[in-house]
């Protein structure tokens, strides 16, 4: 394991991206992306389809290596934070083993993260996503919203310092969505940093700060109120449109 003091070397920012570039062949997915996420805040990554949200999150999760710029995660290289088990990544599509039960899936991810009291944590995570009664169900037999919830549960087991949630509430019903956000808020209050991508403006307004990205670059960064004030529009949605046009 890692020495405790190494883990505690924490900069003010949980994620610090400066001029991050990533291209896939001819497509420039990230063109010098700058953003900084403070420890313990909920940061909303907002942007249209193909703007580079998932690409950026994958860079933070150590799955993609940026070609340019600087990216620090929890005070070090992304892969170091991931290897230390300090990052939880919920992929955009619920990536689970369909032939395994909910319990078996969670037990597997708990083992990979070296979770000590797996039984308790699994129950706790399932209670959070309100699926305790489906613990024995085979994942293939769940509805797609339920799978999304199991996918979130799998991300919470090891209590990561940094949670990367790529559109976590897509396909989740409104009531549960409320509960999710209440839970995110609780996590943030206990010191967890959350990076949440979304298209939904109503969700965006629940974030501490927002980054509006388009075509792989940050258009504007700030709280929802700041962004609305800067654009001089009545609400966030029109602020986003106005800011996107201003560029």
């Amino acid at each position: 394991m890692f020495p405790a003091d190494e883990l505690n070397v924490e900069t003010e920012f949980a994620v610090d991206a400066q001029g991050v570039r990533k291209r896939f062949g001819a497509i420039e997915a990230l063109r010098g992306l700058d953003l900084a996420i403070r420890a313990g805040e909920i940061y909303g990554l907002l942007g249209p389809n193909g703007s580079g949200k998932t690409t950026f999150i994958r860079c933070v999760a150590g799955l993609l290596r940026p070609e340019g710029g600087m990216l620090t995660v929890l005070g070090g290289a992304p892969s170091a934070a991931v290897s230390a088990g300090r990052v939880g990544y919920m992929t955009q599509a619920a990536a689970l083993y369909g032939d395994l039960s909910v319990d078996e899936n969670l037990r597997f991810f708990a083992a990979l993260q070296g979770v000590a009291h797996a039984d308790e944590r699994i129950v706790e995570a399932l209670r959070t996503v309100d699926l305790l009664d489906r613990q024995r169900s085979v994942v293939n037999t769940l509805s797609s919203g339920m799978r999304t919830r199991v996918s979130l549960a799998a991300t919470l087991l090891h209590r990561p310092s940094l949670l990367l949630l790529d559109e976590p509430t897509v396909g989740v019903d409104p009531l549960l969505r409320q509960e999710f956000w209440a839970y995110f808020r609780k996590l943030a209050a206990s010191g967890t940093t959350l990076l949440v991508s979304s298209h939904v403006m109503d969700e965006a307004s629940r974030c501490d700060r927002l980054g509006l990205i388009r075509a792989g670059a940050v258009l504007a960064e700030g709280t929802a109120n700041e962004l609305v004030a800067r654009a001089g529009t009545p609400d966030l949605e029109s602020a986003f449109l106005a800011l996107a046009e201003a560029r």
Binding site: A84, Y89, D99, F108, L112
Partner: protein, 357 residues
């Protein structure tokens, strides 16, 4: 390297197949079906009793001995002249004509099918041996004909020779296919991406796959061996443990090759297309059907790099000849298989880039 994580991956694979009935069927039922077919086709080949014309005009043995020979249970004996015999042979009404020339017994057969030819020759030799064994008194202690085989024997069928290599072939084929498809699924469903965002290392992932699939390969080997020994009554010698060791090292190569192939394929259909490329050369060049020393020179080097060549040699040595694990030939084959497995495993590890896309 973390044993818990390796074990978790292995367990995940085993659990996954528990509910995947079709793949389990592929793994355990398919070999049994194929072996039954092979058994039905080749298992009784030497038990066929050929019809033989004894050319009495060219068979100057004492009459009682000729009687015994014609009456032997190993053949359907008939009397006739040499000319009659030959014409019946050409018409396909009989399988062989025998006659004596000096002290040499001649057997004339049709010879279009080498498998058939061997079994006819064997049956006639057996008939002759039976006859002479009981007739030495009549002959006044004349020379008895005796045919000894180093391995096997007249009651060995082609199935006995095929069974050992089929064990290896099934293990390689199914485990290769299943590991390629499982890992491809891991890529396409996004679980690989998820795994790579945990502390799991690539080498741990590959080791977990090796352990998980070895479990199935050994179970499969048990099923195949039990079926061939107790149902098909295949003769075999050698210790079970040695057979499993050969099997296990072969499977390391098969799983790793599967992972490598899955890196080159975009979908399951493409992965399946690798099957003939990987398997067909091994069917023809590994000694499975054609002995390696009967291959043309220019094909030998190809045969020498195929893992099944060594698995076949080792398993035949153990199961037919009864060689021990400590035998230099068996050890050499196992060593080569280990090297192949390691090279493939390292290749598999490097093929899983962190950049999953």
């Amino acid at each position: 390297m973390n044993g818990h994580r390796v074990r978790a991956v292995a367990k995940r694979i085993v659990l996954g197949f528990r509910r995947d009935r079709r793949s389990l069927g592929l793994l355990f039922v398919a070999p049994v079906v194929v072996l039954s077919l092979v058994g039905a086709v080749w298992g009784v080949a030497t038990e066929r009793v050929p019809t033989v014309v004894v050319a009495t005009d060219r068979f100057n043995f004492p009459a009682p001995i000729v009687d015994r020979f014609v009456a032997s249970s190993a053949i359907h004996g008939r009397r006739g002249t040499f000319e009659e015999g030959l014409s019946q042979l050409r018409d396909g009404k009989v399988d062989a004509v025998v006659w004596l020339e000096g002290t040499t017994l001649h057997i004339q057969i049709e010879g279009a099918d080498p498998l058939e030819s061997g079994s006819i020759g064997g049956a006639i030799q057996k008939a002759l041996a039976d006859t002479l064994a009981g007739a030495s008194v009549l002959l006044g202690g004349g020379p008895a004909v005796q045919v000894d085989q180093l391995y096997g024997g007249p009651d060995y069928s082609i199935l006995d020779y095929l069974a050992p290599v089929l064990v290896a072939f099934f293990a390689f084929f199914f485990i290769f296919l299943l590991s390629a498809v499982s890992f491809l699924r891991e890529r396409t469903t996004g679980t690989l991406e998820r795994l790579m965002a945990t502390p799991l290392r690539r080498a741990e992932l590959v080791l977990g796959y090796l352990a998980g699939f070895s479990f199935f390969a050994l179970l499969q080997a048990i099923v195949i061996l039990l079926f061939t020994v107790f149902v098909l009554k295949v003769h075999y010698r050698g210790t079970l443990a040695t057979i499993f060791i050969v099997e296990a090292v072969l499977v390391i190569g098969a799983v790793s090759l599967g992972l490598l192939v899955s890196a080159a394929a975009r979908n399951e259909l493409q992965a399946v297309q690798f099957v003939p490329i990987v398997l067909l050369p091994q069917v023809f060049l590994s000694g499975l059907l054609i002995p390696v020393d009967q291959l043309p020179d220019y094909l030998r080097p190809l045969s020498a790099v195929l893992p099944l060549t060594y698995a076949n040699e080792a398993l035949r040595s153990v199961m037919i000849k009864g060689y021990e694990l400590a035998d230099p030939l068996v050890l050499r084959d196992i060593g080569i298989l280990v090297v192949f497995g390691l090279v493939m495993a390292v290749g598999a590890v490097t093929s899983i880039r962190r950049e999953v896309a």
